[in-house]
Symmetry: C2
Subunit: 248 residues, 2 copies
């Protein structure tokens, strides 16, 4: 297993292997593989995943909320919830009867940092990837705190890779289930934008290379069932696809 | 920096250094140091800290709650919030005007595990330590989700060490501020006991050696101010002491 850089024309991409980790100056090993022959796993192992709730106004409304909150609402998902592209989301049918997809833009941190000013947020961002903030909606409502509902193993698909050269301010974000479009938003609709979120979270806790901030989901969230194939696609990044299997 | 085993009579304890990590069979390096000459840091670096809310009835009442919840309420603290004995809790005065102590029994996991049955919980527990679930009470009330309020750097003192041979079912737990007793409970008052919590949390997420479950706080929580010295003492374990400094 190795980190690598994905390059090349569409349909002819290859992966150049990187020695060690990709934060800071990278060094290539010289090994190159066609992307089609590589099995991608989650593009990083975050020490923490900080997620933002209620960050698209139309999603706040569909959840029955009145006004979006003045400040970002933060919660977290455990590192054990992370899976990569192509891995299966395990539906915990004994504990939940309603598991929803939530497509999101994920920010990957590249530098140890805290109390980052908004105008310097770009300096600590390594890149962007797609995320699915899978949520046991029934448990979320019952518990009040969201940690259990959003913390199951496999409930944080990330990938397919990290795009390091990207302006995140106005990207189309689309979630499909079995090929049917369910969420279709733009990151320009974020109530609190990426630099604001990096500043807000890092004012509380030190961020470490590989840490991930999930920026919230647009309207259209809905249930998954066993056998579904769910994809989160973001303009300029790529598409993260996972199927749903029964855990039990 | 090394792991070690604390042994010997009270006042004459010494630390025997351990090669590598302490999970599984341990091997001593042969180095021994008087405890008084050793600087203890947090006894583990947890990949995650899962905490339980509202797990003592008298604390539920003091927080204005009615009935304790039928199921444990779980939330989490980031690994970046951990400090060891003697390290300072940094009061984020720009963001909070009310930071409380919460003395708690912490369970340290010793084995990779998931879906642990209650009756086998003891097999996955490495030991017990003292914890202070420091909480920005004003932010906790304002946010609804507790992640920010409980997630600041330094808000999870752990230590002074891990007691590996201990029955956790009826231990006195005492929190003092500047030597004055503020919390005085017994772990027999836990609404959901230690084996139940291990089963409950591991039904959701895989636990990894070093992961920590905080079992909840008894009544008597209250504010800290800069300059305070706060101690959490648990019968059969020891005492975790930290002072409070201004972050800003």
């Amino acid at each position: 297993m190795t980190f690598g850089v994905v390059e090349g024309a569409r349909g002819e991409e290859f992966v150049s292997a990187v020695a060690g980790h990709p934060f800071g100056d990278i060094q290539f090993t010289g090994d190159r593989f066609p992307l089609a022959e590589v099995r991608l796993v989650a593009p990083m192992l975050p020490s923490k995943i900080v997620a933002i709730g209620k960050n698209y106004a139309d999603h706040v409304r569909e959840m029955g909320g009145d006004e979006p909150p003045a400040e970002p609402v933060i919660f977290s998902k455990p590192s054990t919830s992370v899976i990569g592209p192509g891995e299966a989301v395990a539906y915990p049918e004994k504990l939940s009867q309603r598991v929803d997809f939530e497509g999101e833009l994920a920010v990957v941190i590249g530098r140890l940092c805290r109390e980052v000013p908004v105008e310097r947020a770009h300096e600590v961002i390594f890149g962007y990837t797609c995320a699915n903030d899978v949520t046991a909606r029934d448990l979320q409502k019952r518990d009040g705190q969201w940690t259990r509902a959003k913390g199951f193993d496999t409930f944080c698909p990330l990938g397919p890779w990290i795009e390091t050269v990207l302006d995140p301010s106005d990207l189309a974000i689309t979630t499909t289930v079995n090929g049917e479009i369910r969420q279709s938003g733009r990151t320009s609709q974020l109530l609190h934008d990426v630099p604001t979120l990096v500043a807000y979270v890092s004012a509380v806790m030190t961020l470490i290379p590989g840490d991930v901030i999930l920026t919230g989901t647009p309207a259209g969230v809905g249930p998954l069932t066993v056998g579904d194939e769910v994809s989160v696609g973001i303009e300029g990044i790529g598409t993260l696809t996972n199927r749903v299997v029964s855990r039990d």
